[in-house]
Structures are given as structure tokens and as C-alpha cells.
């Protein structure tokens, strides 16, 4: 019988090997696949099980983890959720994360490499790992002023510190409440998300950095910068500014928004053309300079480049190969020119910063769980967009816009403000887009702003009427400090 027992034990040995192989398949070979399956709660539970670091504005947490009373130990809480939603994004059981919650995830959940030392300490002490904190560059006063100004409208505001590229405000309207998307109630999350998705106003769109609109007359500062850079024009150069400009090789005519000549005898200086936003003069100027000169200037301000702030911003565009009439239209920010609010704020900031375009950024500092500073973002320059002398000249021209031209609503008493209005048609029938870009104080700006209002429905003056007051409020909020 012993031989039979040996044979049977050999069979059981084979069964044991089958178990070992099968366990290896599950726990080693297929483990990653199983872990990533959508129905697997473990990864999220692990994320919700440890305290996620806060997102800070100055020293106030705008997103933080709060202990709850159920299986998911922590819940994400957003103070003033809709106000900071374009910055924080959301952190959802169902839809994953967006905004800084997504880009800074490894900092917030404490898994980034810079925490290695902390993690070893945690391992030794047996403490649950705690995430690091992310301090944003946002200025709470500027953010609030922009949000208040946009109320009841559809659009976005971006404010930048010209010398550094720090983003002081990034606001959108309409916005959403990240609290509801980051709750522990999947049914409610889905319902709210579907509601937001169905909203024609697209509140989930991160307008400040991804919504592209034709920049309209605000783009004239780019054309003006290209004109100064060419060396052929100064602020006092005389340009033709008739009632209408005959587009080259075309039967169409481009008219001024008020249907009048830009100056006596259809002649106007460059400075005056910018002040009154003379379409015909800038269309003519566009063809004089040529598309490639304008594109070179636009690219130096950041067009045709995707910035990661660290949220990925949409690429602002100058048309690739426009013909002469298209170049004329592009020079006044129409045709296929598209820009984000972030991009136009960068244009204003670079002009104010002696022509230096800075890389924009949203994260000021990374802090450890104990709030010690682990990493600080240093400002970096993106390009030299203008010669300093040209930038001074353009600044004066833009100050003139606010003091004597179309941008009067951005005046701040006692402070020189440089600005430019804009209105653009997004299509033949679609309502216009109102813009205002500005910076102040003109000599050494602390803040540059771009305001875009979509579906403004009003004519050229809407840049001044709708957008300029918001820009003014944001600038004042920064300058008051």
C-alpha cells in the first residue's frame, strides 16, 4: 500500500504546484491589472484612508481633507468651492481628479519622491502617511474681485504678476462646486456631473486656461509690438486710417466699428490708432508687416505654445499661413487668431515687464506634512518678446488708451494704468466676445489682467463697458495690498 500512498502524495504535490502557480498569477502577474479594474474600491479606499494634503491660498486651505464618520476615512472639503474650482479642480470617487488635485496628486497624497525621508520615518514610527501641502500663487483678494465682477456673466479672468509669471487670479463663470463632485455619494456625484455636462454654459470647462476666443482688438497690441520691433514705425508714425479698408485681392471692405475715419483726412498716428482701436489702420499695418512678423511677435508672447502651469493650458493660435486679407483680419485679432485669457494676460504682463515673457505658474511652494517648505518655484523667463525701449513706448501707448481712449473705465485715480479693449466676432451670427487687458502701475506693474466675457452681445464699447471695470477691480485688489 505504501507505493499507492506515495503515488497519491505525488498527485497532491501536483495540486499544490497548481495552487502555487495560480496564486502567482493572481498576486504577481495579473495583480496590476486587477488593481486597476474600475470596480476595485481598494485603491480609492487607500487614497481616502490617509489624510490628503491641503491646497493653500496664502495660508488658507481652499481644499483640505476632513475626517468623516464612514468607511472612507477622509472627505475632501473645498472652502469657496466655485471660487477656486478652476485652480483646485475636484477629487472624485467616480470621475477621478482634475486641476491641481490631479497634477499635484503625488504631492497631496504623499507619494512623491521628495517625501522619501518622511516616508521612512512613517514606516519606522508606523504612522499613516500624510500628504504634503501645495501653496498656490493665487491672491485671494484678486480672485474674489474677479469672481465678483464676473457674476451674472460668462467668461474668465486671469491675473499675473508681470515680473515673475505668478498667476494671481484664475476665475471662471459659471463655475461648479467641487464639494459635490468630491463627496462619498456616487449617485449624487453622477447626478451633479450629468447636470454640469448638460449645461450649455459648460461650467466644467476650465475657461481661464483652456477656453479659446478670438482676441479681437486686444491683439492690436501684438501688432503694434511687431510694428515697433520692425524699426519702421514709432508711436508717432502716421498710418492711413480711412472709414473702410479695401482688403487686398478681395472685394470686401473692412470698416471701423463706428464707421468713421480714425483721424482728420483719414490719417492717424500709431498711438492714436491704438487709443481709438482703429481697425483700418491696424489692418493696413498687418499687411505692411506681413503675417510672419506678426506671428514671430505673437509666439514671443507665448502663442503657439502649450504651457503647463502645471494644469495644461490650451495653445493660443496665430493662423499658420494666412493670405493678405486674412493677414489684415488677423492683425486686428479676427479670422483664425485664438487666445486664452491666460495668453492675453501674458501679453499684457510681458509688455509691462520690459518685454520679457515669463513662464506662468500656479504652484508657489510644496510643503511637507509638517508644513516645512520642501520646494519653491523660481520664476523662469519664456522669451524676450520686446526690446525694453519698445516696451516702454508701447506701455505709454496703452496708458493713453485708458486715459484718453476706449479704455476709460479702467482708470484708477493716482495710478497710471495701461490697457487695451477688444471685441471680437466668434462667427457671423454668434454674439461678440468682449476683452480687456491691462497692467498697473504702468512704470513697474504689480499686476497684469486679462478679462474675457463671452456672449457679451454688445458692440465694441463692451470691452470698456463690461470687461474694463472687472480688470480695474482686480488691479485695485492687488495694488491695495
Amino acid at each position: 500500500m505504501s507505493r499507492q500512498i506515495r503515488r497519491l502524495s505525488f498527485v497532491f504535490g501536483l495540486l499544490l504546484i497548481a495552487l502555487l502557480v495560480n496564486a502567482t498569477l493572481i498576486q504577481v502577474i495579473n495583480a496590476r491589472d486587477y488593481r486597476d479594474r474600475p470596480g476595485n474600491q481598494r485603491i480609492l479606499l487607500a487614497e481616502y484612508d490617509r489624510e490628503r494634503g491641503p491646497i493653500l491660498v496664502a495660508s488658507d486651505p481652499v481644499a483640505r481633507s476632513v475626517e468623516t464618520g464612514n468607511t472612507l476615512t477622509y472627505i475632501r472639503e473645498y472652502n469657496n468651492g466655485p471660487l477656486y474650482a478652476p485652480v483646485t479642480g475636484f477629487y472624485s470617487l467616480v470621475y477621478g481628479a482634475t486641476g491641481l488635485e490631479r497634477t499635484e496628486n503625488r504631492i497631496l497624497n504623499g507619494k512623491a519622491d521628495i517625501f522619501t525621508v518622511d516616508r521612512i520615518q512613517q514606516l519606522v514610527s508606523g504612522r499613516q502617511p500624510v500628504g504634503g501641502a501645495v501653496t498656490t500663487t493665487i491672491d485671494a483678494a484678486a480672485q474674489r474681485a474677479a469672481f465678483k465682477g464676473l457674476k451674472g456673466k460668462r467668461g474668465a479672468v486671469v491675473a499675473i504678476e508681470p515680473a515673475t509669471g505668478r498667476i494671481l487670479a484664475s476665475v471662471q463663470m459659471p463655475s461648479f462646486d467641487p464639494n459635490r463632485l468630491s463627496s462619498h455619494n456616487p449617485a449624487d456625484i453622477r447626478e451633479y456631473y450629468a447636470e454640469l455636462e448638460a449645461d450649455p454654459q459648460k461650467p466644467l470647462l476650465n475657461r481661464p486656461v483652456v477656453s479659446l476666443n478670438p482676441p479681437g482688438s486686444t491683439f492690436k497690441v501684438v501688432t503694434a509690438a511687431a510694428a515697433l520691433a520692425s524699426g519702421r514705425f514709432t508711436a508717432d508714425s502716421i498710418l492711413p486710417g480711412p472709414k473702410a479698408y479695401q482688403l487686398p485681392n478681395s472685394t470686401k471692405k473692412l470698416r471701423n466699428w463706428n464707421g468713421r475715419e480714425c483721424g482728420p483726412g483719414g490719417k492717424v498716428t500709431l498711438e492714436q490708432a491704438l487709443a481709438i482701436s482703429c481697425n483700418t489702420a491696424f489692418a493696413w499695418l498687418g499687411n505692411e508687416l506681413g503675417a510672419s512678423a506678426i506671428r514671430t511677435q505673437a509666439d514671443a508672447f507665448g502663442f503657439d505654445h502649450s504651457f503647463e502651469i502645471p494644469l495644461r493650458a490650451a495653445t493660443s493660435l496665430f493662423p499658420a499661413d494666412p493670405d493678405a486679407p486674412q493677414t489684415a483680419l488677423s492683425a486686428i485679432g479676427q479670422f483664425d487668431v485664438r487666445a486664452t485669457a491666460l495668453q492675453m494676460a501674458m501679453v499684457a504682463a510681458a509688455i509691462g515687464n520690459s518685454g520679457r515673457t515669463m513662464n506662468p505658474y500656479l504652484v508657489q511652494e510644496i510643503r511637507g506634512p509638517d508644513l516645512s517648505i520642501l520646494q519653491t518655484t523660481e520664476p523662469t523667463q519664456y522669451a524676450d518678446a520686446m526690446k525694453p525701449s519698445d516696451s516702454l513706448s508701447l506701455t505709454d501707448m496703452m496708458v493713453n488708451v485708458v486715459q484718453n481712449g476706449t479704455g476709460s473705465n479702467a482708470q484708477i485715480s493716482g495710478i497710471r494704468v495701461a490697457g487695451k479693449t477688444g471685441t471680437a466676432q466668434t462667427g457671423n451670427d454668434s454674439p461678440s466676445v468682449a476683452w480687456f487687458i491691462s497692467f498697473a502701475p504702468a512704470a513697474a506693474p504689480k499686476v497684469a489682467v486679462a478679462v474675457v466675457i463671452e456672449e457679451s452681445g454688445a458692440p465694441e464699447v463692451s470691452g470698456n463697458g463690461l470687461a474694463a471695470p472687472i480688470a480695474k477691480a482686480v488691479m485695485e485688489a492687488v495694488l491695495r495690498q
Binding site: I5, G13, L16, L19, I26, Q27, A31, D33, R35, G39
Partner: protein, 456 residues
């Protein structure tokens, strides 16, 4: 000179106990509970039970195998650690839901361990020689059969989670099949050692394989019908498989005829196909086994959660107290290996499988070295019971074979199972002592046997 190796056994027991203390501390610290308040009471209780078992073996069966007792103890301790860890998770969940905190399972499991220890000792004290059991072959067979069908009895029989395998007595409930499997193994051993000669007779040869006489087919057909009955009426896939597999294996050992394995396999395939095509609950198990992901929210929920847990464990495991083993249903009973696999990783799963392999291999060694036919068959049968049960349940929770409801020997929460498996170890040690004991006389082996009996 054969060494008794009792001190080896004691050293291994102390090692197992230390692992238990460290594991419990790790659970307490990792879950933030701190040092378990009653750690020294529970650790003391485990030490006391193990020490008493060791002492009884030392006195009553000094030549017994020194590995099996420590391995069984270590497995029981691993089970206790995981049950405590799941208690912590359940208490925490109840606290968060503001519902009353459930009674911890670990203390009742500890009590069952003590009772199992008492029965373990009783085997050594009441049973001097395993061959005595042979006298009661048919009595055990009858009691075993009654125990198996007892859950079907009115009033006391209880259906839990779809399977009718529980008996409720006042506040106590137990699974009689766990005890029945020992009695039936004794019955098989006693019956087969008597009838093996006639069952081994060959009448005809087909393709070089000798077939038994048709009239000798009776017993295997009866066993087959009983297995099917358990499957159909009690819906207990595991016990049915265990019962039939055990009988066929023992028949093969007793008769030394491969034809019984072939006949058994044919009957198994036939019965399995019959059950699959006629009984929805069997079909459902197979469907889920073939593709658990499609049914991950319904019938496949348990197995899918088990796979998630195991995958989360990976190579080194989440660490005791740091996984989510409570997400798997029945984590402390059927799925305790998934829970251990999540927190100890594949390293832990391999270690546990190796402990079982060691225990079963030792059991087979006892069978091989045993000098009497009954003891050989009994030791082999008990080892096969353990082996089949381990394979069927661990294979089930890891998706290797369709899931069946069996307890994991020594690890699972539950008194009947713990007691039954400790009695199995006691019987194996009893036989082992007998077979390793050196001949004190110089008489021929046959006489030596009678002499031993006379000393009883």
C-alpha cells in the same frame, strides 16, 4: 536508536507562539488600536493550550511526529491573528456607522481552540492504540452517516447561505459534516482493510487495466449516491467532493488497483455533469468560475473581491492591519486565505501552503511507516481529507476551481472545523507514535504487535 524529538517540538511551539504575539502586536499597532489590551491573556491562553497538548504528547505518545503539533498550532495562531484583525475592522466600521459594536470572534475562536485542545488530549488518554477503533468500524460508519444527514432533520437543521450543513442546538450551532468526515474515514479504513482482498480481485481486463467484479462495484456506487445526495439535498458541493474523493483514494490504496481510480473518475465526471445540467446552484458556481468578471456585482462578487484582495497583497502584502480584508465577504471563514493573502502577500500564501504541505506530507509518512493495514489506511485517509479540503477551498477562493463552501483547516473561524482538524492531528500523532516506537522486544514483528496490544 530512534530519537523522540520532543524538545524539537517544544522549541517549534515556542517559535509559533512568538510569531503569534508579534503578529497580534503588529495588527494592534498598524490599525491604530495600540497594544491589544487583553494580549497577555490571549497569548497566555494559547500558550497554555499548546503546552498542555505538548505535555500530553510527551507523556502518552513520546515517539509521535514532532512537526505536526507545532504546524497545526502555527496555523491556528495565524487564523486567530486574522480573526482578531477582522474584529478590529468590524468594530471600526460599526463605530463609524454608529451601530453597536459586534462581539469579537477571536475570543470564541480561542475558546474553541481550548476545547479542541481538550479533545486532542482526550484522544491520547482514551485511545492507547489506534487499532481499537477498528472494532467499531460500522458503529462509526453509522454515526458518520447520521451526522452527515443531520442538517436535513427538521427543527435542528439550519440552512446558512444556501447550504444546509448546520445543526442548531439551543444557542450552539455546529457543522456535523466536520466530525462526520473523521468517523467516515475510520469506517472506510476499517471496512476496506477487511474487504480489500475481494475488491482487488480481477475478473476481466480491458485495455490492460484489470476491472473489478461487477458485484464488488456496490460500495463505490453507494458512496457515489451518498455524495450526490449531499450535493443535491444539502447543496454542499465541498463536502460532496471531499467525501467521494476520499473514498476513491482510499479504495485505490487498499486494493492497489488503478482501475478504481478510473472508475471513480468516470463516476465523478458523470455525477458532476449530471449536477451541472440539472441543478441551478451547481451551474451557477461553474458559470461564475469560468468568468467571474461578468458577474462581479452579483454571483461573482465574492470571488472577485477575493481576487482584488489577493492582488492588493502582491508579493509582500499590505502588511497585517493595513489592507482591506473586510471587503471580502466571509473573510474570517471561507475566504480567510484571501484575507491573509492580502495582508501577507504571496509570501504569506506560499508559507501557509507549505505549512499544509508539511502537515500532509508528515501524515503520509505516518501512513507509510505504520505497520498495520488499518493504521496505514486510516493515516492515509486522514491526510487525504486534509489535503483535499485544503485544495478545494484554497483552489476555490483563488479561482482555480469552482468555489465550494468548505472551511480552511485550522485557519477558518468556526468551532466544528477547528475541533475536527485537531482530532485528525491527534489521531495521526497516535498512529505515528505507534509506528515510530522502537521494538522493545526481539520478537518477530507479528508477535510484537500482539505484545503491544497486550500492554494496552
Amino acid at each position: 536508536m530512534i530519537k523522540k524529538r520532543r524538545n524539537t517540538e517544544l522549541a517549534l511551539l515556542i517559535f509559533a507562539w512568538l510569531l503569534g504575539v508579534l503578529g497580534t502586536l503588529q495588527v494592534g499597532w498598524a490599525t491604530g488600536e495600540g497594544t491589544p489590551p487583553r494580549l497577555w491573556i490571549t497569548a497566555g491562553a494559547v500558550a497554555a493550550v499548546a503546552l498542555v497538548m505538548h505535555t500530553v504528547v510527551r507523556i502518552r505518545a513520546p515517539y509521535a511526529d514532532p512537526i505536526m503539533l507545532p504546524v497545526g498550532t502555527l496555523l491556528t495562531i495565524l487564523g486567530l491573528i486574522m480573526i482578531y484583525r477582522l474584529d478590529v475592522a468590524d468594530a471600526r466600521r460599526a463605530q463609524l456607522n454608529k451601530s453597536p459594536i459586534p462581539t469579537p470572534d477571536v475570543y470564541s475562536q480561542l475558546t474553541w481552540f481550548a476545547i479542541a485542545g481538550i479533545l486532542f488530549c482526550a484522544v491520547f488518554i482514551l485511545l492507547r492504540d489506534h487499532r481499537r477503533l477498528q472494532r467499531y468500524t460500522f458503529t462509526f460508519g453509522l454515526i458518520g452517516l447520521i451526522l452527515m444527514v443531520l442538517p436535513l432533520a427538521p427543527i435542528i437543521g439550519t440552512t446558512v447561505n444556501g447550504a444546509t450543513l448546520w445543526v442548531r442546538f439551543g444557542g450552539l450551532q455546529f457543522q456535523p459534516a466536520e466530525i462526520a468526515k473523521i468517523l467516515i474515514t475510520i469506517f472506510f479504513a476499517g471496512y476496506l482493510v477487511k474487504t480489500r482482498d475481494s475488491l482487488a480481485l480481477v475478473r476481466t481486463k480491458v485495455l490492460g487495466v484489470g476491472l473489478p467484479r461487477p458485484k464488488d462495484l456496490g460500495p463505490i456506487v453507494v458512496a457515489w449516491f451518498i455524495s450526490l445526495g449531499v450535493l443535491i439535498f444539502q447543496r454542499d458541493l465541498g463536502t460532496s467532493l471531499l467525501f467521494f474523493g476520499l473514498f476513491v483514494s482510499m479504495l485505490y490504496i487498499a486494493t492497489q488497483r488503478r482501475s478504481w481510480l478510473i472508475i471513480g473518475f468516470v463516476l465523478f465526471v458523470g455525477g458532476a455533469y449530471f449536477a451541472y445540467s440539472n441543478f441551478a446552484h451547481v451551474e451557477a458556481r461553474v458559470t461564475v468560475w469560468l468568468d467571474p468578471w461578468t458577474y462581479s456585482d452579483t454571483t461573482g462578487y465574492q470571488i472577485v473581491q477575493s481576487l482584488y484582495g489577493l492582488a492588493n497583497g502582491g508579493i509582500l502584502g499590505a502588511g497585517l492591519g493595513q489592507g482591506f480584508p473586510n471587503l471580502v465577504p466571509f473573510a474570517s471563514t471561507d475566504f480567510i486565505v484571501s484575507a491573509l493573502g492580502e495582508e501577507l502577500g504571496i509570501t504569506g500564501v506560499f508559507a501557509i501552503l507549505m505549512l499544509y504541505a508539511l502537515l500532509i506530507e508528515r501524515g503520509f509518512r505516518v501512513a507509510i511507516t505504520c505497520r498495520d493495514g488499518f493504521g496505514q489506511l486510516l493515516a492515509a485517509g486522514l491526510s487525504i481529507t486534509l489535503a483535499l479540503q485544503v485544495f478545494v477551498i484554497i483552489g476555490g477562493v483563488t479561482g482555480l476551481i469552482p468555489l465550494t463552501g468548505l472551511t480552511t483547516p485550522f485557519l477558518s473561524y468556526g468551532g466544528s472545523s477547528l475541533i475536527a482538524n485537531w482530532v485528525i492531528v491527534a489521531l495521526l500523532l497516535r498512529i505515528s507514535d505507534r509506528s515510530r516506537r522502537p521494538d522493545t522486544s526481539q520478537i518477530s514483528p507479528d508477535d510484537a504487535m500482539t505484545q503491544v496490544v497486550s500492554r494496552v
